[in-house]
């Protein structure tokens, strides 16, 4: 397997008028092609910061980030941020419009994605008419539209209730596996991390440093919902739970 991404000693400091905040320090990690990685950690520790720096929204303060030469990043932000004046199809085409690769072929690809993931009847609807789960799927397809191979997902399911959360995470898992994507996902939910990902990175309190990394080895790996019933599931759950410093 090739490395899609190598991170060495990443450091990020935020500067504002009154403060400087050390958000991430000494963060080193390699990501293999096709791997699903989860990042968990206490809230405010710097998880979103890592993704923002990786995709170039924020400048790093120090360290090294090396991408494989044909890595294309897709960043799915925590909020779906659909444009309410564009219909679903046009929302999904936004990225293609921006990098000027919108043509009949790429448009058909997006329509096919929408069809495959149960949004065929909503192609010309507006975001206001969609449920939270559908909106999240649209946001994912918008991210997939430009055909990235490395996906950064920031708490992609946090806006959902438990039931839809399970269903959508199964959906999205299948979409990404089928398309052979590599994924880094930030989440608060330990069960979600274990059930969806190959590796789980546990971060310390801010500034985020790597506390531990778990290779998730289940008896028989299948979809996230089934993985939750796996024998080894609770073993990892307890371990990770203890690793995260929860402050109540």
């Amino acid at each position: 397997m090739k490395n899609v991404l190598e991170i060495k000693n990443l450091k990020k400091i935020y500067h504002t008028k009154t403060h400087e905040t050390l958000a991430v320090e000494d963060f080193s990690f390699d990501v293999n092609d096709g791997e699903f990685i989860a990042i968990v950690g206490p809230s405010g520790c710097g998880k979103s910061t890592i993704l923002s720096v990786l995709c170039g929204l924020e400048e790093k303060s120090d360290g090294e980030i090396k991408f494989n030469s044909n890595t294309k990043i897709g960043y799915m932000l925590q909020q779906d941020s659909l444009f309410e004046w564009r219909n679903i199809l046009d929302n999904c085409l936004l990225g293609l419009e921006i990098n000027k690769t919108l043509n009949e072929e790429s448009k058909m690809r997006v329509i096919k994605l929408l069809t495959t993931y149960g949004l065929k009847d909503f192609i010309y609807s507006y975001p206001d008419n969609l449920s939270g789960g559908m909106r999240q799927r649209v946001a994912l397809i918008r991210t997939l539209a430009t055909n990235p191979n490395l996906l950064l997902l920031d708490e992609p399911f946090s806006a959902l209730d438990y039931q839809s959360r399970l269903a959508i995470s199964d959906d999205i898992y299948n979409i990404l596996r089928k398309e052979k994507k590599t994924m880094i996902m930030v989440t608060h939910d330990i069960a979600e991390a274990i059930s969806m990902c190959d590796k789980v990175i546990v971060l310390s309190d801010r500034p985020a440093r790597i506390k531990s990394i778990y290779n998730i080895e289940l008896e028989n790996k299948s979809t996230p919902i089934n993985n939750r019933k796996d024998k080894n599931f609770s073993y990892y759950y307890d371990k990770i739970w203890k690793d995260i410093d929860f402050h109540v």
């Binding site: 941020s81 004046w85 936004l94 419009e97």
Partner: protein, 264 residues
């Protein structure tokens, strides 16, 4: 086909609307009748307070000697010009300020001061600079509507959700794309409500300008009426102004509905 309950519900809505409309008309008619009665019974002095009948006669008189519509047209024409210029120029300047945040920071205090200054105070100066003609009137109206347009539209540009901007950036949008794909369409509502304010602002400005200089227009009509102590003419002018203002407001509202409908 609707259910029986729904038809009942619609009927109720319709009835409610009818009652409101009839009441509105009734108030107006009642007011006119009382006014006319008081005038006929000599309880009020019609020389000062005029009467509906006299106002009607004045307007018919204006119409007969072919002055009515030329006065209205002059005012409407001046309003349309200053309204259009204020909207286009205002939106353009607001875009410029968004594009170059530093310019905005620099000129902000000047904008605030200009905005809170009662523009009518500049009247005498404007006359000297632009002469006693239509130029002064339009400049006056522009002063009043332009600055408020800039401020409102700029606020609209700046109230775009931070996450949407982040999204655009994560997709690799240039500043140009950010503006035309997100900032501008996202602010269309703000711009349209700025239009609504602009109609009234421009009209206020034009009437103020006409008070200062003109030889034609509704403002002139009102001012002239007061100078020759013809209160019927003054009130007729005000009445015509009300009608013109209402019509212009409804035209903009209509455009607003059309534009918003097209988007959703």
């Amino acid at each position: 086909m609707y259910s029986l309950e729904h038809i009942k519900f619609l009927k109720k809505l319709k009835r409610e609307k009818l009652i409101v409309t009839i009441s509105q008309l009734a108030i107006f008619i009642f007011f006119l009748i009382i006014w006319q009665l008081l005038a006929d019974l000599n309880i009020i002095n019609t020389f000062i307070f005029s009467s509906p009948k006299k106002i009607f006669e004045t307007i018919v008189g204006l119409y007969k000697n072919k002055n009515l519509f030329s006065h209205i047209w002059v005012t409407v024409y001046e309003t349309i010009i200053s309204f259009s210029v204020a909207t286009i120029l205002g939106t353009f300047i607001a875009s410029l300020l968004w594009w170059r945040k530093r310019i905005q920071k620099i000129i902000e205090p000047y904008l605030t001061i200009l905005n809170s200054l009662p523009k009518v105070a500049l009247g005498p100066m404007i006359i000297i600079w632009f002469g006693a003609g239509i130029k002064s009137i339009i400049f006056m109206a522009l002063l009043i509507s332009l600055i408020i347009t800039i401020i409102n539209v700029y606020e609209g540009f700046n109230s775009v959700n931070e996450n949407k901007i982040k999204l655009m950036k994560s997709l690799g949008a240039s500043k140009y794309q950010l503006f035309f794909k997100l900032i501008l369409p996202n602010s269309l509502n703000t711009i349209i409500s700025a239009l609504k304010i602009n109609v009234s602002m421009s009209l206020i400005g034009v009437i103020m300008g006409e008070f200062l200089v003109s030889k034609k227009g509704i403002g002139y009509l009102i001012l002239y009426g007061s100078q020759v102590f013809n209160l019927s003419l003054v009130i007729s002018g005000i009445f015509i102004l009300c009608v013109v203002a209402a019509i212009m407001y409804y035209i903009v509202s209509f455009i607003e509905k059309r534009v918003l409908k097209k988007r959703y």
